[in-house]
Structure formats: C-alpha cells, structure tokens
Symmetry: D4
Subunit: 148 residues, 8 copies
C-alpha cells in the first residue's frame, strides 16, 4: 500500500483527478485542508480573534501544520503541485520539508515554471506536467504496468 | 560560535549588511553561490552542454545542492530572505528543508508578503523585516545584550 | 487516524470532556495512569518497599515512565494541561520531551499562567484555554470543519 | 572536554559557584541568558512591540529558544536547577527536552521538592542538592578523582 | 498494545510463567529461539559445515541476530533475565543494545547478582526478582491496576 | 511477520522459488519491477521521450527508485542475489543502501563470485548459494525449526 | 572545509589527479587502503591465517570496513569511480551506503558503463567522466568559480 | 584521527599495552574510570551514603554511565576486552550499546571464551586475542601498513 500526500495548489480539481484515476489502486491519499477560507481562519475561529493580521495568520498556519506535518511524515510519496496563481511558498516549503525527510518527491507543474522550480525539481524523483502522469507513476510503482 | 546560513534573495546586499553588522561577533556565515549566472550555468559549464533547458538547469541545480545542503545541515540558524523579485521557490524550499531538520529559522521579508509567507513564518523562531534585526538577534543570542 | 496523548493535570475531568467531545472522531487517546495513589505507589507495591521516600518515588516514577514514554513517542499530538494545583513539573517535562521529538504540541492552561508558561507555549502549535477548543482543533485537523 | 549546559533558576549564583569550582577542569559551560529583564523583553526590543502580553512573551521566548536549544543539543551533560521561587516550568521543559535527546541529566534541587520532581529525577543520572556536588561529579567524570 | 521482548536465560520456564500470567493482557511477546541445540547449530545446518568452531558459532550467531534484532527493535519493553548458569554475555549484550535504542528495560535477576549487574540495572526502568513482578508491571502499565 | 525485500538478478525464477518454498510462512515479499523492458523504459513511457540515452535511463531509474527505496526501507530482511550476467551494480548498490540502514542482509551468489563480493558478504548476516537456503533461514527465524 | 571520500577503482592514479588539481582548495580527501595486496590480506596478516578463502577474505573485508565506513560517514561528498576492470561491486556498495546516509554523491565513469550504472547515477548529484571535472565541481562548490 | 574507546576488564595493563603500541599513531583513547574502588563508590562518595547496597551501587553506576556513554558515542571504534575474572556483564552491555549505535567493534578475548561470546563476536568487525593485534589493526586502518 502506498501513502501519497498531495501538497500545493488548492484551486483546481487536480487532487480529484488523481484520486479518480487511481481509484482501483491500493493508495491512501492525504493532503491539507483545501477549503481556502477555513484554512485561513481556523486559528482565530477556534482559539480567539486577533486584531493583528500577522497573528491571525500565525494561529491558523500552526493548526494547519499539525495536519500537514503528519501527512508528509507518514507519506511514501509527496506530490507537490504548483499552479498559476499566488506565490505558493507553502508548496515549496512542503517540498523542502519532504526532501529533508527523504521522501520520494513528485513535482507537478507547467513548462512556464520550469526555470523557477529548478531547485525543487532537482530534489524530485519525477517531474510531471499532468495529473494523469502521476496516476501512471503510481500504477507503475504498484503493479509494474505501463500505460498502453 | 554560531554557524548561520543565509538563504534566499541574491540581488541586494543584505548578506553584506548582516556580515558587516556582525563583524565583531563569533559567527561563521555560509550561503549559496550568489553569482546568478554562475549558479545557473555551473552544471553545463563543468559537465557538458545540454540542448534541453530542463536538463541544463537540472545539472546546475544539483551541483548547487551540494553546497546548499551542507550549508543548511551544518548551520545552527538558517536565515531565509524573500525579496521583491522572482518566484523564490528555492528560498521557501530551503526554509522547509531547514524546518524538517529542526534548525532555528529566521525569516526576513517585507510586510507585503506577510500573508503569502504565513506557513513559512509559522515554522520560524523569528520573523524580521530588516537585516539589522538579524544582527540584533545574533548579538542577543551570543551575548545577551539588547540594542541600546 | 490521530493518536493523541493527554498529559498533565489529573484532578479534573478534562480528559473525559475531550474524549466525549471527540467521541465521533477517528482519534485514539492515550495518557498516564490517573489514579494518584496508584501512580505514587506502584513501584513499591510491585517491586518492594523502600524506607527512603526518594527511592519509593523513584521506583514508581520509572514504572510510570514506561507508559508515559510509549504514549508520547507514539502520539501524533501531545496535549499538556496545566491546572491550578501542584508544581506540575512532570507536565512541563512531558512537554519538553514531546517538543524534542518533534511532536505537535497543544498546551491547555488558564490566563493566569500565561507568563510562567511562555517557553512551553513557544514550543506549541496551539495554546488553548478550554477542553472544547482541543476538540475543535482535532475536529478541524481531521475533517476541515470549523465550529458553527 | 565536557560541554555542560546549566539550565534553570537564574536568581542565585549557583552557575558561578560551579564555574568557579570547576575552573581547572576541561569543561565548557553554556546556559540561557540570565538577565531576567532582557530575557523577558528581547523579542519586542528587537522585533517590535506587541500590545498583547501573550505575543510579547511569545516573541521573546522564541528568541531565547534559539540559544537554549543549541545549548542543550550540543551539551554532554545538562544540569537543571530548581530553586525556591517561581513556577520554573521552563526548567522542567528543558529537562524533558534533554531527556528525549538522550543527554546525561543532573538535577539540582532541595529536599523539599523531592516528591514534586520525582518524574524529572527518574530521568536523571544524578540528583544533587548542592552546586559543589555537581563540581565533584564533573571532576570524577573527567579525572576519576573523588573528593578527599 | 504492548510488544515485549523476553531476552536471556533459556533453561527455566520463566517465559511461560510471564506469558501465562499475562494471558489476559493485550501483550505480544517475542524472544529468541529457545531450543539450545538449534540455536547453536542453525548456521551450519542451513549454510554448510565449518571445521573451525569459531566460524561454526559465527554463522549461527548471525542467523539468530536476524531474529533478535528485529525483536528488540520492535519491542516497547525488553525484559532481560539473568539465571544461575553460563556466562550470559548475550543477555547483557541485548540489554546494552536495547538501552542504546532507548527501549524500556526490565532486568530480572536474583539478589546474588546484584553487584555484578549494577551497570545493567542502572540502565533499567525496573529491576525485578520474580517473573510475577514482570506480570504485575505489565498489568499496571496497561490498566493502572496494582496487585491486590 | 517478516517483510523480505528480494533485490537483484531478474532473469531466473529465484524469487518464485523462495516464495513457493515460503508459501506457508508469515512472510510478505517485496521487490523491484522484474519486467526488464518496463523497468528500462518506464520513465520515458510516462513522462515523455528523451533523445539522450542518459536522460532516458535517468528518468526510468528514478521512478524505479520510488519502489525500491520503499521496499528496502520497510523490509526486515533484504536478500540480494547476484547472477551470472550483467554488471549488477544496482544489486550491490541496494546491498549498500540496506547495510547503511541497518537491515539484516542475506547475499545469494555462486562460489565463483566469492572474492569479488567479499565486501558485500562482510556486511551480511548470511551468505547463501541456493534459494532453498533462504527459505530455510526464514523458516528458522520464524519458527526455530531447522531442515530435517 | 569539504571532506571528500574517494571510493572505487584503485588501479589508476585518479585519486592523485584529483588531489593535485585540488591542492589549493580547502579539502580533506579520504579513501580506502589502495594497496591491493594489503587490502586483500590484512585480515589474516593480523588476526591469523584461514584455510578457507571465504573466511580469509571475510576477515580482511571487515577490517577494511572500519576505515571505509568512517570515511563515508564523515564525508560531505563521496566520489565513486568505476573503471574498466573487475566487478567493482564494492564501489557500487559504497555508493548505496553513501546514498542511504544522504551524502552528496558524485559518480565518475566512462560512457560505456552508462546504462549499467543508471541506478547509481540516479542517486548522484553529479555524473562525471574525468577527474578534472571533479576538481571543477569542488572548486565551484567552495569558491563559486567556474572553469575559464 | 581515530577515537577509540577501550571498554571492559580493568585488572591487567592491556590498555597501557595498546596505548604504548599506538603511541605514534593519530589515535585518541578513551575509557571508563579504571580505579575499581573509586568506580564502585563514586556515587555515595559524592551524593551521600545509602544503607542499601543496591542503591549504593545504583548511584555509582549512573555517574559512571555519564562517562561511559559519552566515550562510546564519540568513538569511531570500541574495543571490548573480556578477561578471566568476574562476570563482566558491563563489558557485554557496552558491546551491545556500541553495536546498536553502529560503532566498529573489536572484541578482545581468549580462546576459552569463544563459545560464550559468539553473539558478541558476531556483531564485531574483528575478534582479537592479544592487545598487539589491536595495535596492528589501528596501524593498518590509519596507514595501510601491515606488520612486517
């Protein structure tokens, strides 16, 4: 059984595409909370409001870290997707975190970000452009079967 | 003696400011190669040209990783600076790498990036806006003295 | 599934409150022996009486350590509660032990202990005042749902 | 050469007593910043004021953690002293942190705290009541010589 | 659930006594091959005869190490029993191995060996004289119940 | 339960012989993809063609590493078989990788390779010549039974 | 300062070429005993003759392992050279050992071995064909300077 | 430079023989306190008398552990000598401790203890009978030179 953490971009349905493509494989997928508003506000919603935006974000980011770190630490493979919007430093942070723990890393991004992601890609065991390639990798690793 | 790795932005003189401010402290500073062109082209310059830009970058990023990882692994404190230009995913990657190794992390960035860096800041022991604050932190840690 | 170790104060029903609030979550709770007399006397009850109170306590504390360390080492999250009575150095010891192992730490205490617990809180990913907040954190981490 | 971290109580001269007694031994002593006011206020003094006391303390405690963790992680022996005043949860936290890292732990406290410190003492290789006993231990470990 | 490795003396029924006493507890017991002849000769029986007794023993000891190390590494608690016969250096070796891995160690021996085992006992969380005490410890750790 | 990774030569049926011989044992066997063509071409089949054979192989070897490393890291015992054909440096690499992780290593090879494999054999707990010996070792480790 | 372990082929002067080329760099080179006869016979020369070639080699390989493992474990960078003669499984073993420890790996080999070394190369941060390239890499890592 | 810990028997001059034989080598030797009376009584001499012999010994053994563990943990090579007298379980304990830490282990004992030490020898990289052989091993490891 493979445990695969799906990190990064939360505004397209790439996680669903991978989960659907891998629905017959022996894989457990984990990942961050993907509800953007909940993820931003969880800290103050549970632990009390903060007038300063820095601490507002800080409380939330730490709650999310409880989930994120467990997910990465228990994963066999960490897939990190970079999309078109936002700075996505948390995605790169997760990639570095996973690399330092010796996790197998798959980076998923478009050609336009190739140069900017060269250090992240250099730490990866695969660089893919499409979620279907991630499904094909998981299929191959588990079964030895290649796409027809 | 403190060993401090200075990661991230390479287009302003922030490393020099810190080194100058800390010139009387018992600190050894390390960091990446900061010559942008050399850093980009080192792989092909030494190991042979690649027609494909991905592999051109890949060879270089791996050579740089030899220096970067040693620097981070041997550091007591890792300072990661985010500037105004570029994607800077390598900086966030270094921050994640350092965090996973349990390094003391100082993040240095402007207020405009506060929200985008909340996960990185949440893993840090200090978030500073100015190189002089990093100098003050190092001074305090080594001597117990605070700024006048 | 989350494994959560509940450390610290054993004279109120905070563990029960959390367990009850989280009864529908996929969480396994562990913790120390909470029978104060048994916890104090287990060493001599099993391994023989000691005339010297130091060794009486020593034998017991070591038996309890077998349970405590396994609990902390296997936990995803360690919750440490500081109450109103006693010195509670064992609670702070557990917090330090958990922090050094890289566990996600939640500290639970009243406002009156805020300053005295600042070093412990600084190592935590959440500081809560009420058991219901711990339940809300566990709910959010597992499901992404926030309190209504 | 032994590296010895002296943790805990900062209101009596016990560190000086040990350092003086061990002045002819090959020992390097480290420890926290012992200026109480500087230790409390370092965070806001360097990184900016906080209206909320929790965050005021939080910023300072994290700066101090950079020094404390390095000190404990590099120590062969960690001495933790419990005195008569304050809650001293940071001392117990340091003891737990050191224990989890497998450090040799010496606890230094008066007889009146014996029962409350039983879990901390159970993790120690020595429980002393007087700084001169710590000096005698360091002397014996380095030279094999016992007090006359 | 506790995993308990039972190391040492193989000529009395102490393992059976513990397993019987703990038959209602949630404990998995592991241990070495306790058939003395098989344990001595396994190497040459499987991998071919050796004219030199040293290599005869060497081949067997290495096969046994595959079982022993897995057992100790996966155990929560390692019980090491010293009996009346033989040198039993393998028992002390297992105790040292377990101690270095941070396992909870219970040493089981008669009063006559107290002085000779002082270093081993000093690394243990309990020193017992009778298998029934080990049962009582396991019962207490799992349930908090003490002997009537 | 034992987890056994079967590394190395993929052109004879030695894995099947071991699996058949151990069919009644509580063993889970893992190993690399043994379809030579798939193993060579998986990288380009999934992630896109490469005109340069080095990168063609590189992409494939990295995908295979995801499976191989998980297999070795989760194994109790790693069996490495050296056959008569090819350089088999990947087999020796796996043996070194397993040795550095402290895995129990069994090397399986013919007498003709004894001298060339002396460093690999020196890191092993058993050196066998025949798959049936591996079955006998697994049987002994699990049950204590030796071949009739 | 860089510590670089030079593993593998001992029949050409590649180590001398690298050491000469790097004579002005702050590098400490380590490596195995390169006297082939001494390396083969050290075990029996010191610890007594063995009639069986397997044990003759075994005793020697274990003595060499004391030097080899210390060298690899203390290295920042491990260079592994594959030459034209012999099976060189010890070189591949060292590469696997270094990779599992997270060392920066440079593989040095001719084009004719590219396919056979693909798994080893996939674990490396650089694949070079000539000792002068290794010198250039070390120069760049230490100084940032590229070849003219 | 090699750091070598000399564990075990303290009643003959074997440590001096090795130190003298290796006087021209770049080796730092460490070891336990070899004054038998001081080693037995250090605990009570420094920390106060104990009427019960078990606790008398316990306090001493723990002080000695501070020296012993540092010595073993910092050593490249651990030499453990078994002599003719006493149970010497502490020597076997040290061997197990060193083995679990992955230290290079040399066991030094007479032929009469070969069978009883087979598990300890199986974990060693060399089994010697004479201190001069240990000197020869250290010489070879450092210089590649074999005895004339």
């Amino acid at each position: 059984m493979l445990t695969v953490y799906l990190s990064g971009e939360i505004h397209t349905d790439w996680r669903d595409q991978i989960a659907h493509g891998a629905r017959d494989l022996n894989v457990m997928f984990t990942g961050p909370v993907t509800d953007h508003a909940a993820s931003d506000d969880c800290g103050v919603a549970i632990l009390g409001a903060e007038p300063n935006k820095f601490w507002h974000d800080h409380k939330g980011a730490k709650l999310n870290a409880m989930r994120t770190r467990k997910g990465i630490e228990e994963a066999d493979i960490v897939v990190v997707r970079f999309g078109e919007k936002y700075k996505q430093w948390n995605a790169a942070f997760d990639a570095g975190y996973a690399a330092a723990l010796g996790k197998s890393l798959i980076v998923l991004h478009g050609a336009e970000d190739q140069h900017a992601l060269k250090e992240v890609d250099a730490a990866a065991l695969a660089v893919a452009q499409d979620p279907s390639q991630v499904v094909a990798i998981l299929t191959y690793i588990l079964s030895g079967d290649l796409p027809a």
